[in-house]
């Protein structure tokens, strides 16, 4: 029996040692994917989608579909500092803008010592203007590291 004790001690210590890692190898992004569908011919005639951009008054820059988008989808993180994220949708040749105001519940999680904190979100309410937007559907309210949020916008 004592032989087996030693074997099991060594095995369990080895298991504990193998769990140690100092780098963040996990995907800690918590993203909202916005899918755009342009059915309005007036907008397709001005290449609305190709020239589409998103910005916020609380951003230091903009997101341009031509640079960061693909398959009519743009991904962004909601505000980590506020329950309200205001996103403005614009396109170069469009005279008007539309605004999304996303109200979410935030959950601050200490993910790991290596990766630090992440914020999970739950979309509570989405307000939107209807200058060009026809309708909006939220297909995934939960935003976490394992599941992106999904919003579909129809123009």
């Amino acid at each position: 029996m004592k032989f087996s004790v030693y074997i099991l001690i060594i095995t369990l210590f080895a298991l504990i040692y193998s769990c140690s890692d100092d780098t963040c190898n996990a995907d800690t992004d918590t993203l909202l994917n916005i899918e755009f569908t342009v059915n309005d011919t007036n907008l397709t005639n001005i290449d609305f989608m190709d020239n589409l951009s998103l910005y916020s008054t609380q951003w230091s820059d903009s997101i341009h579909y031509s640079e960061e988008g693909s398959n009519e989808i743009l991904s962004l993180m909601l505000s980590p500092n506020s329950d309200t994220s205001e996103i403005i949708i614009t396109s170069v040749n469009a005279g008007l803008k539309d605004t999304l105001t996303i109200i979410s519940q935030r959950e601050l999680i200490f993910y790991s010592p290596e990766c630090g904190f992440i914020t999970n979100y739950f979309i509570d309410t989405l307000f939107y203007s209807i200058n060009y937007i026809d309708s909006i559907a939220i297909t995934s309210y939960q935003i976490s590291t394992s599941k992106d949020g999904q919003v579909q916008i129809y123009f």
């Binding site: 004790v5 099991l8 962004l76 999680i109 200490f110 630090g116 909006i136 939220i138």
Partner: protein, 246 residues
């Protein structure tokens, strides 16, 4: 400018997810007792079921969890200590009280984090050995409770769009309860000095969740985000002997 809104319609959630975990522990424990009773081929290893000797307190073991020494190498941000009191009743049943303290302090580039707390576990171990009456090989159950608090500051999210604005979360206190099942060994290395280890399954019962600031590590329980945590302890005990003549 016209506005429209889409609002989430909440769906009521229940707590059935906990019931399965609790039933699992109970049924696993019962299955272990059943094994002891029905397996006659292992009579040399397992204690007999029928034993009418009165239970006698044969010693008290005072133990220190030496496994926490590994924190020094692998979790330098954490300082923790765990001790145990083990009441030996006829080498078959052991009343166990375990407790510990834990303190974590981390200052990283994108966050500062502090937590501190203590915990206590109360339960029983059941020795299945017959052949080595001074040693132990068996299963145990515990109920654990942790009191702890944590706080964080200077949290920065490295997102390329939102203007970086460090977040701080004030200190919050929690009480957490869990059930614990274990199996393990204790062997006498030299007279009255024992070494033992246990493999543990801890199942959270309440107090692990916080919608705003999820606890990372709960003293004695492990990762707060998990409903079930696995673990191991390595103890060195000194047995205070008495009732030797019985």
């Amino acid at each position: 400018m016209l506005l429209q809104a889409i609002k989430f319609q909440p769906v009521k959630m229940d707590r059935f997810k906990y019931i399965f975990s609790i039933l699992f522990v109970i049924l696993t424990s019962l299955a272990c007792f059943g094994q002891e009773k029905g397996n006659k081929q292992d009579e040399d290893l397992y204690a007999p079921i029928e034993d009418k000797e009165p239970l006698v307190l044969k010693g008290i073991k005072v133990g220190v969890n030496v496994g926490r020494v590994t924190d020094f190498f692998f979790k330098p941000e954490r300082r923790s200590t765990e001790v145990s009191l083990d009441f030996n009743l006829s080498n078959k049943y052991f009343g166990v009280v375990e407790g510990g303290i834990s303190e974590t302090s981390m200052i990283k580039e994108n966050y500062w984090y502090d937590s501190e707390g203590s915990y206590i576990k109360v339960g029983m171990d059941f020795n299945m050995l017959k052949k080595y009456p001074t040693d132990y090989f068996g299963i145990g159950i515990r109920i654990g409770k942790a009191d702890f608090k944590h706080s964080a500051s200077h949290i920065i999210f490295e997102d390329s769009h939102w203007i970086a604005d460090p977040i701080a979360v004030d200190s919050k206190s929690y009480n957490t309860y869990w059930l614990e099942a274990s199996f393990g060994l204790k062997g006498e290395l030299i007279k009255n000095v024992y070494f033992g280890w246990s493999a543990l399954v801890r199942i959270g019962v309440s107090g692990r969740k916080d919608a705003q600031f999820q606890p990372y590590e709960i003293p004695g329980f492990g990762k707060g985000a998990n409903s079930i945590n696995l673990g191991a302890t390595y103890y060195i005990y000194y047995q205070i002997p008495f009732n030797k003549n019985k």
